[in-house]
């Protein structure tokens, strides 16, 4: 089977295919067994049957099916394997596997692991010990020899690292380990990129080896980002690709902000044969400041990611002026226009002290990118030296002229040109000259591509001594050729001088838009001088890892293995200092993988006299076909069974079609209905009937005191009230219910009437707790002491019932109480009532005090719907309501006033309405009409 990646474990079994013709012959001869049927009208049938030849052989397709089945089984028994992998026989007595796990190996690391696993498996088959080393690893990492199991564990624990490989070290260690096992096979699983000193490393590695197994990716395609530059007009990123790649190639580079959001993208295009390319993000300067990292799309490795630090960001600009202007006149302050111009795209820092001797070092400590000095004349020596140093190291110093500068001694070090002492005035009463406009920006000036303003005039300026290089140092000239802005490079830094004041006194340039443009360009030219928070470096300063680039190119929090980065020197990217951002939230330093001059050179197989075998990277794609083949044979067998059934007439669709859905439907209906029925049955609990009866009607409850006469009056009273309610209102309450507060469920009743009987037993704590809970859940208890005239006339005295009530309430969370105020809902819930008489008159009805909003929070009893959970009266309401069997009142009122009884009923109606409708009546909508009626 050369044309298929297929091999057989037991090819001899394939000879069984020769038996297929025999099987075919046998199958053709054996028809399926007929279904025997008794059939009386056989004679009639016989006349029909004469016309048809009874088939004595199976149909051809059934035979074919069975032959295919037999062939499949024979094939499956031969143990076929799809994509068989080559066995790498390790000739030697040991195998040393060296794997490149640098950044370039990250994208297909799993494939490398799979390849290494194969090597380990082959070594295991030959019982050879395994040396396993990674080219990015701790120098003291264990490399073996391992047995296969340990090697596998170690292999699976290893990961690609976002750092360059260090072959020399790893190879040296392997070579050392191999000294006592000569002739070992050395397997090098390279990442395809050459590194320095490869040759020597390979020489050392292969010195004692018996064989080289060489694996290298087919083609390396990694793109690496080598440098970034925040150019004035664009953010430029440079990228390299392996030199072996020659075709033109396009890639997208994305700029991500600090939260990984994609905020810009640019195109990288490598021309044919070019190994380097640049991409430019032409996005606004402000947006560029948000760039946190750059990444090449589709490259899952660390080289394609570059992190950016302060150097690529918003500049810090220090501002220094002498003799601050009057605060009251900011427009005259020397720094006013400068700071207004710079604020949008730079961080401005101003010294706290006005003394230049301390202000300048203070500024320099913060490592600004640029310092703007507005008309500063002479500097203290120390500050001067520090400034010169700073400029030499890359600082940008921008100075403005003014009277002080004009009067100062020429300062060669911190001025781009020699100045004449004094200034010249253009225009004015004693001058023939006119104020000068600005000429076209000269070629070679940083402002060359800007458009000069036409409306700016300069009436006064300091003048530069004409020197040989004055032309090239002139960045902006006046129309008559006089330099207006001069600049020069000093060391790594830049000096710039505006020959005018930073206020609008000498020129109206500071109040023109061009001033902003010029300053902005200068800011873009400047470079930050390191993280603002970095400790002043004397070699020992280190920065902790902040965000690291993982091997797959993502930014991750620091890994445990990462060590702080030394700030001072150019620290190499190692496993201890993986690429990423170092520092803290205040400021970070970017530590990037590829240096600016990186070249991705493909690795060459070392020249060696040893036997060399090439191994391709790849997953183990060997597939055992036995299972699928058996499965297909089984499926065919099922098909065959079905076919035989069909031939035998056992599959008659109509009948099956009718029966199966019916059975399914039955099963379904059963499945659905059964739990349903159970659920209904399971819901029923003892006591449900009482509960249903209690809630199917609105019923008023009264507390059974145990005294039958009181209970009878309570019941008769509530019955009387119910009758009155049914007469006068839409509410038709059901039979009153006597409840035992210790046992019965109270939640069904809106109101519980509780006649206090001093003779009755004190309710238990549990019963009181139930009442308390009932009140808190929205129920209301109407306590009736029935002793309006039982108490003494002494205000302090209290009847026995009242004492009992106090005892009862002492154990409950009773809200603050008040007699029903005039504007309470109770007085207008149905009837307008000033008082709530019962058999007696005069006792106030106590309800929960109306809360102001502030007090609502800490109330002990929450009321439902604003209904008072408690009402207390002494008027014996039930006594007044009570009616006998003939409808006549049972008890006389005191005094015997028929209207008092009517009022008592009305009080009951109001209480019930209040219970059931809550504060509905207190709705402001009704206030006018209620007031109107109250007023008359």
């Amino acid at each position: 089977m050369g044309f298929l990646p297929l091999s057989f474990g037991l090819p001899a079994v394939l000879a069984g295919l020769l038996a297929l013709p025999v099987i075919w012959w046998l199958l053709r001869l054996t028809p399926p067994k007929p279904q025997a049927e008794a059939f009386p009208p056989l004679k009639i049938l016989a006349r029909v049957l004469r016309k048809e030849e009874t088939p004595h052989q199976s149909p051809w397709w059934l035979t074919l099916l069975r032959l295919a089945m037999a062939a499949l089984i024979i094939l499956a028994l031969a143990e076929p394997v799809f994509n068989p992998r080559e066995r790498v026989s390790t000739g030697g007595n040991a195998v040393a596997i060296v794997i490149d796990n640098g950044w370039a190996a990250a994208p297909d690391w799993a494939m490398r692991v799979a390849t290494a696993e194969r090597l380990i498996a082959d070594a295991e088959a030959e019982n050879a010990p395994v040396l396993l080393a990674f080219t990015v690893d701790a120098p003291n990492a264990e490399i073996g020899p391992f047995d296969a199991q340990a090697a596998r564990e170690r292999l699976n624990a290893a990961e690609a690292q976002p750092v360059p490989v260090d072959r020399a070290a790893a190879f040296a260690r392997v070579a050392q380990a191999m000294t006592d096992m000569p002739n070992a096979s050395v397997a090098v699983l390279s990442d395809g990129l050459a590194s320095e000193a490869d040759e020597a490393a390979f020489d050392a590695l292969l010195a004692d080896a018996g064989e080289l197994i060489w694996a290298s990716p087919q083609g390396v395609t990694e793109i690496g980002l080598t440098a970034t530059a925040n150019e004035p007009d664009a953010f430029v990123v440079e990228a390299v690709r392996p030199t072996s790649e020659v075709g033109p190639r396009q890639a997208m580079v994305a700029a991500l902000d600090d939260r990984g959001r994609r905020i810009a993208e640019a195109q990288l295009s490598f021309g044919a044969g070019e190994a380097a390319a640049t991409a430019a993000f032409t996005v606004p300067f402000e947006l560029r400041n948000d760039f946190n990292s750059l990444a090449v799309d589709g490259e899952a490795q660390a080289g394609a990611v570059r992190v950016l630090d302060e150097n690529a960001r918003r500049r810090r600009v220090g501002l220094i002026a002498q003799g601050d202007g009057d605060v009251a006149q900011p427009l005259l302050s020397p720094l006013h226009y400068i700071s207004r111009a710079l604020v949008p795209f730079a961080d401005l820092i101003e010294p706290t002290s006005a003394d230049l001797g301390s202000a300048i070092p203070e500024l320099l400590e913060q490592r600004p990118a640029m310092i703007v000095m507005a008309d500063v004349g002479t500097l203290p020596d120390e500050a001067h030296a520090a400034l010169v140093d700073w400029v030499d190291n890359g600082g940008t110093l921008v100075r403005f002229a003014g009277p002080r500068l004009a009067a100062a001694e020429p300062d060669e070090d911190l001025l781009p040109v020699r100045l004449r002492v004094g200034e010249r005035a253009l225009g004015g009463t004693l001058s023939w000259t006119e104020p000068q406009a600005i000429a076209e920006y000269p070629e070679g000036s940083p402002f060359a591509d800007l458009t000069p303003p036409t409306d700016v005039t300069v009436s006064r300026q300091v003048l530069a001594e004409p020197t040989a290089d004055i032309v090239e140092r002139s960045w902006v000239n006046l129309a008559d050729g006089t330099p207006l802005v001069t600049g020069a490079r000093r060391g790594d830094g830049t000096l710039a001088l505006f020959h005018i004041t930073p206020q609008a006194t000498w020129s109206n340039l500071p109040i023109s838009g061009s001033f902003v443009e010029l300053l902005r360009r200068l800011v873009q030219l400047s470079r930050n001088q390191g993280p603002g928070t970095a400790q002043a470096g004397n070699g020992e300063a280190t920065l902790p890892p902040y965000r690291l680039i993982a091997a797959d190119g993502s930014l991750v929090p620091p890994t445990p293995g990462a060590r702080p980065l030394a700030v001072s020197a150019e620290a190499p990217v190692t496993i201890e200092n993986p690429p990423g951002l170092y520092g803290s939230e205040e400021g970070v330093v970017a530590h990037n993988l590829l240096p600016a001059d990186a070249v991705l050179e493909p690795i060459a197989r070392p020249e060696t006299p040893l036997a060399v075998r090439d191994v391709a990277y790849g997953f183990d794609e060997q597939v055992d076909l036995r299972g699928p083949l058996f499965a297909i044979a089984l499926a065919l067998m099922i098909l065959d069974t079905l076919a035989v059934l069909w031939l035998g007439g056992k599959l008659r669709r109509p009948r099956a079609g009718r029966a199966v859905p019916a059975a399914l439907a039955l099963a379904l209906v059963g499945a659905i209905s059964m739990p349903d029925a159970n659920a209904q049955e399971g819901d029923i609990r003892p006591g449900d009937e009482e509960a249903i009866a209690a809630i199917s009607q609105t019923r008023i409850a009264y507390v059974l005191t145990g005294d039958s006469s009181i209970d009878a009056i309570s019941r008769a009273g509530l019955e009387g009230l119910g009758r009155f309610l049914a007469d006068k209102t839409a509410l038709e309450p059901g039979e009153p219910v006597g409840v035992d507060i210790a046992e019965d469920e109270l939640a069904f009743y809106p109101l519980v009437y509780w006649p206090i009987d001093e003779g009755a037993e004190m309710p238990s704590q549990a019963a009181l707790a139930r009442i308390d809970a009932y009140m808190q859940e929205g129920g209301t208890v109407l306590f009736d002491t029935r002793d309006q005239f039982g108490a003494g006339f002494d205000a302090g005295s209290a009847s026995a019932s009242t004492m009992r009530l106090r005892d009862i309430l002492a154990d409950m969370n009773v809200p603050p109480l008040e007699p029903v105020p005039d504007d309470h809902v109770l007085t207008k819930a149905f009837y307008i009532l000033p008082e709530f008489p019962g058999r007696f008159n005069g006792s106030p009805l106590w309800v929960e005090a109306s809360q102001t909003l502030e007090e609502t929070a800490d109330r002990p009893v929450r009321v439902g719907d604003g209904v008072s959970p408690i009402m207390i009266t002494a008027n014996d309401l039930a006594g007044a309501w009570a009616i006998g069997g003939n409808g006549a009142p049972m008890l006389p009122t005191v005094p015997a006033d028929p209207m008092q009884r009517v009022h008592a009923y009305r009080a009951g109606v109001n209480i019930m309405m209040y219970m059931l409708t809550g504060n509905y009546k207190s709705d402001q909508v009704h206030v006018p009409s209620i007031l109107e009626r109250l007023g008359q």
Binding site: A36, A38, I44, V48, G649
Partner: protein, 298 residues
């Protein structure tokens, strides 16, 4: 999958008897009116239309002196001054020969059928026997009993059958006389000409025959499919059909043609031909035969 049809064991006559009675109760009493004068006891159609021993009211006639006083119908006489005697119509017996096919093919019962053909045939025969004997007719079973008249004719037939070890496949119909009725219950699956030849003796004798064909639904519908081996329960002959469903239409054409030919022939002779399927009620056939007997007598 189970077979569609099966040959059941022969039905015990006692069991069939019980069911026959149930069937018989469904049908009103049958009075067989012979169209022509039967030459059994008192012959003649006209003779029947006169008073005599019977149960049905015939006429009231004035009492004639000398008649038994007990014959006076006092209820009628009380209405006027005369005395009346209730005359009854004289009812004469008729001989009906019953026969159910006992052959092995009758034992067949398919799944769709509620009973086997044999069972259905016996039920019908006994029901008719019950019906007829209750009406006072004389019944007979060729090869089993001579004509007899008894209230429990069905029982006696059943008892006779119980003791008869072997019933002849083809009855000897030579004993039948003219003007008697013959009820033949069979599946009539033999070739038509054979059946006709056999029944020709009846036709020549002027006997009125009622043919009841018991048909199993499986025989009529031919619900078989797939490879099927058919076996004749009578002869044991076997036939194998590769795809039985392909035979269905041809078979049904032949099957129905046989039935049509037979029934046409019977109708030509003035006989009745009734088809009863074993998945239908036996009483359907009973009613039709009853109708055929009563109508034929007019």
């Amino acid at each position: 999958m189970a077979n569609i049809g099966a040959v059941s064991a022969a039905v015990a006559p006692r069991d069939a008897l019980a069911r026959a009675r149930v069937r018989a109760a469904l049908v009103p009493d049958l009075l067989v009116e012979a169209r022509r004068v039967v030459n059994t006891v008192i012959a003649g159609w006209h003779g029947r239309r006169k008073r005599g021993i019977g149960e049905n009211f015939w006429q009231f006639r004035p009492y004639v002196d000398g008649e038994a006083i007990a014959r006076i119908d006092w209820r009628r006489s009380a209405r006027d001054d005369h005395t009346y005697v209730r005359d009854r119509e004289w009812e004469a017996a008729h001989t009906v020969w019953l026969w159910a096919d006992p052959s092995a093919s009758m034992l067949y019962q398919s799944k769709a059928a509620s009973v086997s053909k044999e069972s259905r045939a016996l039920v019908l025969a006994l029901a008719l026997a019950e019906l007829l004997s209750r009406s006072g007719e004389r019944i007979a079973w060729p090869g089993l009993t001579d004509p007899f008249s008894a209230r429990n004719g069905a029982e006696r037939l059943a008892a006779q059958m119980l003791h008869m070890a072997h019933l002849p496949t083809r009855p000897d119909l030579s004993a039948t006389k003219r003007f008697s009725d013959v009820v033949l219950i069979s599946d009539f699956l033999d070739p038509v000409d054979e059946t006709q030849e056999w029944l020709d003796t009846l036709a020549t004798r002027g006997v009125r025959a009622h043919l009841i064909e018991i048909a199993d639904p499986a025989e009529e519908e031919f619900p078989y499919a797939g490879r099927t081996e058919f076996q004749d329960p009578e002869t044991g002959a076997k036939l194998t059909a590769g795809r039985a469903e392909t035979l269905r239409d041809d078979y049904r054409t032949l099957y129905n043609a046989r039935r049509d030919e037979l029934s046409r022939w019977a109708r030509k002779l003035g006989w009745s031909y009734t088809v009863n399927h074993t998945d239908r009620l036996a009483s359907e056939a009973l009613v039709r035969v009853h109708l055929a007997m009563s109508q034929g007598s007019r």
